[in-house]
Symmetry: C2
Subunit: 231 residues, 2 copies
DNA sequence: TTTAATGGTGTAATTTTCACACACTATCTT
DNA sequence: AAGATAGTGTGTGAAAATTACACCATTAAA
């Protein structure tokens, strides 16, 4: 049986690619759609922008309604405007990404009925997603892979207190290659924006590692206006 | 006398920031508006996207209609979606940039009546522009300033055959600082994607400089996967 | 006490970046 | 034809950054 769907004219929407890091793996947030078209498919959290909200506000609201996550600091990264990207009409979508700490997040629970559930999925072996969301994801992943090198985005994915090994394994996951431990540490510490804490890791069954914190103020001082241009 | 204007609901538009390089100066293309709102103001070339064209296609078409320029290779760089950025209604605009060779361009002549004329204006000392176009320009300028370092965009601004001094002065204009001639040449040539021609500059009243060409094929070979990561 | 697992550390070789100055050549002027 | 002008073209040494590389230390569990 074919389902008859309403059509509409020009609509803006927002789609969100939310990255998290857990168990040495990079993950993104997906929802299971509970609405046609693409009912039951997996998709990026996304919905339609209202008349009286800026697109940045819309992004925050939509992510909240679909996943229960709030106060995310999202960055717009690309707008997708092919004519037939949405089967019901002309929908141009502005895509945002965010990087967040998975641990310490409350349970994910959609507020609206448009999503049946929301969950984390490793970026390797993603299934086919609704609409052009696979392409949107790919674009986002390329962006953050590059930005990792000249913006302090790694620290948004890690817990507030982290070990150098955790930091390194995040870089390794994003770049998909092994790095030398001594050189990595030497370089990271040489920047001078990591604050060594008195605390150590707890509950591990091996030598506990020192914990560090990212010092945003020092970072800003060091790379003031101009983050390092070609690093 | 106040002019009564129609209002509208959600509309997408495109705005273009077209950079060119001439006489050692970086310039952008502006139009003089011939339509309310902001009649008689200077603005970036921009207009409304049609239902049945992708935003990339719309960008090409709109630029052509307002300036007579065609087949530009434009890159989307940001979408501006504040609620009140347009006085007549909700307009979200996708901004594109392009880099072109000013010389060798035909005269600029708007096709539609929405622009009275189109012309090049140095990026230093820009006047206040219509809508939020000053902000759009600023965002574009920051983007290309950064991209100059990891994408071969300089060669789109120069004539096909150029001297190393011209190339250097372009970098100096964008970065707004002097570079060392010897180091600049050494580094540029070391990349191996500049092809030295047998020709020399003509018509200059001093020792003529060698001409070079950008070898796109060699460039692609050298920086294979890595060059166009976010194109 | 042994084992398993990870934390933590330094040095030398190589490569890259940077600072720096002067002679050459084509044209124009007188 | 001599000189002025204006931009072209070239090399070296010092400093900084990057890379390659291996072993002992600490903790908890067995």
């Amino acid at each position: 049986m074919e389902i008859k769907l309403p059509t509409f004219d020009s609509v803006f929407s927002i789609d969100c690619v939310i990255f998290g890091f857990e168990a040495g793996e990079l993950k993104i947030l997906l929802i299971e759609r509970n609405e046609e078209p693409f009912k039951d498919w997996l998709a990026l959290p996304g919905y339609i922008v209202e008349q009286d909200e800026s697109i940045d506000d819309a992004a925050e609201r939509i992510l909240y309604e679909l996943t229960g996550l709030r106060d995310m600091h999202m960055q717009q990264f690309h707008t997708f405007g092919e004519v037939n990207r949405h089967p019901q009409g002309r929908v141009i979508t502005v895509a945002y990404y965010a990087l967040i700490r998975i641990n310490g997040q409350k349970e994910l629970r959609p507020i609206t009925q448009y999503a049946r559930k929301a969950f984390w999925h490793p970026v390797n072996e993603l299934p086919k997603l609704a609409f052009d969301h696979s392409e949107i994801f790919k674009t986002a992943f390329n962006k953050i892979r590059r930005r990792l090198h000249y913006q302090p985005i790694a620290f948004e994915l890690l817990p507030e207190k982290f070990t150098l090994t955790q930091l390194q394994s995040l870089y390794e996951a994003v770049e998909n290659k092994k790095l030398d431990k001594r050189n990595f540490r030497k370089k990271m510490l040489s920047y001078g924006f990591l604050k060594e804490l008195d605390e150590k890791q707890k509950g591990v069954s091996y030598r506990a590692a020192k914990l560090y914190k990212f010092d945003r103020r020092k970072y800003a001082k060091i790379f003031h206006n101009d983050m390092n241009i070609d690093k």
